[in-house]
């Protein structure tokens, strides 16, 4: 890792860590509220796969949802803030290549996602005991999911000229894809049509694969999930690097 890349990564991590109350504390609290409300209301009524309580089923979903949203939020909001305030020039003037630029923003966002995800996991330990059938799959999907959303955040942050455009991207793309991915339910409990729809949502595979790491059971094979998620990441990386190489909106 070059010094420039390390520095940009350090700066991006310091940026969210200095306001950790908002960037880590707040999302952990939100996830906790979801858990309290949903598990209280639904624990006895919703059936997921055999032998797994709804609350236990819900926790990995919440961990992953928080992780994904915060990874997205980190890269996208950092970029749009820098663009709007103009301090993006500080990273555009030095000899930093577009690949280093991409790597730093994605890695920092993955770190934020993992920190928030770990935070949610830690506070939920008080409420439910989880199995850890395949810890490596857990880590794999957590990291890959974070990287996918981080990449999407880079695209959104570069594309958006204003904060409300970014909010629109978040509300109309990221939120629906997360909520319709099986965070709160097993897609097998859905009508056939919605099951089919869920299968074209890449977020579904990230969450399903992540859950497999805990329970050793899932809606689809973790290998398929890994393939879909990995493919999504490669495609997004390719698209983002392309944007950066052309200087789209950054070096007009």
């Amino acid at each position: 890792m070059s010094i420039a890349l390390r520095t940009l990564l350090y700066k991006e991590v310091l940026r969210f860590w200095k306001v950790g109350f908002q960037t880590v504390g707040a999302p952990v609290l939100t996830a906790l509220l979801y858990l309290l409300v949903f598990s209280h209301v639904l624990d006895r009524q919703v059936e997921v796969y055999g032998g797994v309580s709804y609350t236990a089923f819900l926790v990995p979903g919440l961990v992953m949802m928080s992780l994904l949203q915060n990874a997205f939020s980190n890269s996208s909001s950092s970029l749009i803030q820098s663009k709007v305030t103009g301090n993006i020039v500080f990273v555009l003037l030095p000899p930093i290549s577009y690949r280093e630029f991409y790597a730093a923003y994605v890695l920092a966002a993955v770190i934020r996602g993992l920190v928030v995800g770990a935070g949610v996991w830690l506070v939920t330990l008080w409420f439910v005991e989880l199995p850890y059938a395949h810890p490596l799959w857990i880590l794999f999907f957590a990291t890959l999911g974070g990287a996918i959303l981080a990449s999407l955040g880079v695209i959104a942050g570069i594309w958006a000229d204003k904060f409300d455009q970014l909010a629109a991207f978040q509300n109309f793309v990221v939120m629906p894809l997360t909520f319709l991915s099986g965070v709160f339910y097993s897609i097998h409990s859905l009508p056939a049509f919605w099951q089919t729809v869920s299968h074209v949502n890449p977020f579904f595979y990230m969450i399903d694969g992540f859950r497999y790491g805990f329970f050793g059971q899932s809606d689809v094979s973790p290998w398929i999930s890994a393939l879909v998620a990995g493919g999504s990441f490669v495609a997004l990386t390719y698209a983002t690097l392309n944007m950066l190489a052309r200087g789209y909106k950054l070096r007009s």
């Binding site: 420039a4 820098s82 103009g86 500080f90 555009l92 003037l93 000899p95 200087g247 070096r251």
Partner: protein
């Protein structure tokens, strides 16, 4: 495309924004060690040209080299050789002054740069602010940090885009003393400013830009020696107006006088006769040497 050792080589550079030709075949060379002024009215294209040098934008055509390094093909070396103080007063509100400078050093591949950072802080009178958050600094202090950020990697070529706009007199003088020092140590300085007297006293050579075109490029001394004009400075008696036919050559000074740019001595006497005939009384008459502002105005008018 001569002189491979030039600090800046700009050759045939064009840049369009939609239908606006922001730069139109701009060519100029800045030699190493020069103190160079880039002047022109608002919207002339100065900032655009600087953003192309710095790689913040891409030229539609033409070539730009910094210390011999192409800003596109060899952007890493080009940027290592260039320090830019941007026109806008930008800062990162998350960090202190020292953090800002350490981070900027890191972007240039430099670790443990604190000795040099301390030296810059000292020269810019910022050392007491090192651990203050950027948000808490006044505009003038933020401007100094921008200058410091441009210097962390000791670039041989330093470009300052209106560094003294909106800055108090004391800071202006301090800043110029520092920049002059840098120039004496061998750094090439390129400066844009609205204060023409600053450019006149600092810059050895000047390019004037208008609507994206270079309309003058010369040594400051030669620009000032242009055999253009006799500058007639007058204080009018009472509240009278100049005859309308003199408006084109007249401008008002800050202290309420009128300066007329006239071709030669004959024009001066004709003008005085004209004023007399029009019944305009005069309290004071002076012939003055044209300063850079007069030259600037006359060149801008010629190019119109």
């Amino acid at each position: 495309m001569s002189d491979p050792s030039a600090a800046l080589l700009i050759d045939g550079v064009c840049k369009r924004y939609g239908s606006l030709q922001a730069l139109d075949h701009v060519s100029l060379t800045v030699r190493q060690g020069e103190f160079f002024g880039l002047l022109g009215p608002n919207g002339a294209g100065k900032t655009t040209l600087i953003s192309l040098l710095a790689g913040l934008g891409r030229a539609d055509s033409g070539v730009i080299r910094v210390m011999g390094h192409d800003v596109v093909d060899d952007y890493r070396d080009a940027r290592r050789n260039l320090g830019v103080v941007p026109q806008e007063l930008v800062f990162d509100p998350f960090f202190t002054v020292r953090e800002t400078l350490r981070i900027q050093s890191g972007y240039f591949g430099l670790r443990r740069n604190d000795d040099w950072i301390d030296e810059i802080l000292h020269h810019l009178d910022l050392h007491t602010k090192a651990d203050v958050n950027m948000r808490a600094l006044s505009g003038g202090m933020k401007r100094r940090v921008l200058v410091a950020q441009a210097l962390v990697h000791r670039p041989p070529v330093i470009v300052l885009d209106e560094p003294t706009a909106g800055v108090d007199v004391e800071l202006r003088q301090g800043l110029w003393a520092f920049v002059r020092d840098l120039n004496r140590q061998g750094h090439t300085i390129v400066l844009t400013t609205h204060y023409l007297e600053e450019a006149e006293s600092l810059c050895g050579r000047i390019a004037m830009l208008k609507q994206g075109r270079v309309i003058a490029l010369d040594n400051t001394a030669d620009l000032l020696a242009r055999p253009i004009q006799q500058m007639l400075r007058l204080r009018l008696r009472g509240d009278v107006a100049l005859p309308a036919d003199l408006h084109a050559v007249a401008r008002a000074t800050a202290d309420g006088r009128v300066v007329l740019a006239l071709e030669n001595a004959d024009a001066v006497s004709a003008c005085l006769a004209r004023l007399h005939a029009a019944g305009v009384g005069l309290e004071e008459i002076e012939l003055v040497r044209p300063d850079l502002e007069d030259v600037f105005i006359s060149i801008m008018q010629e190019a119109a």
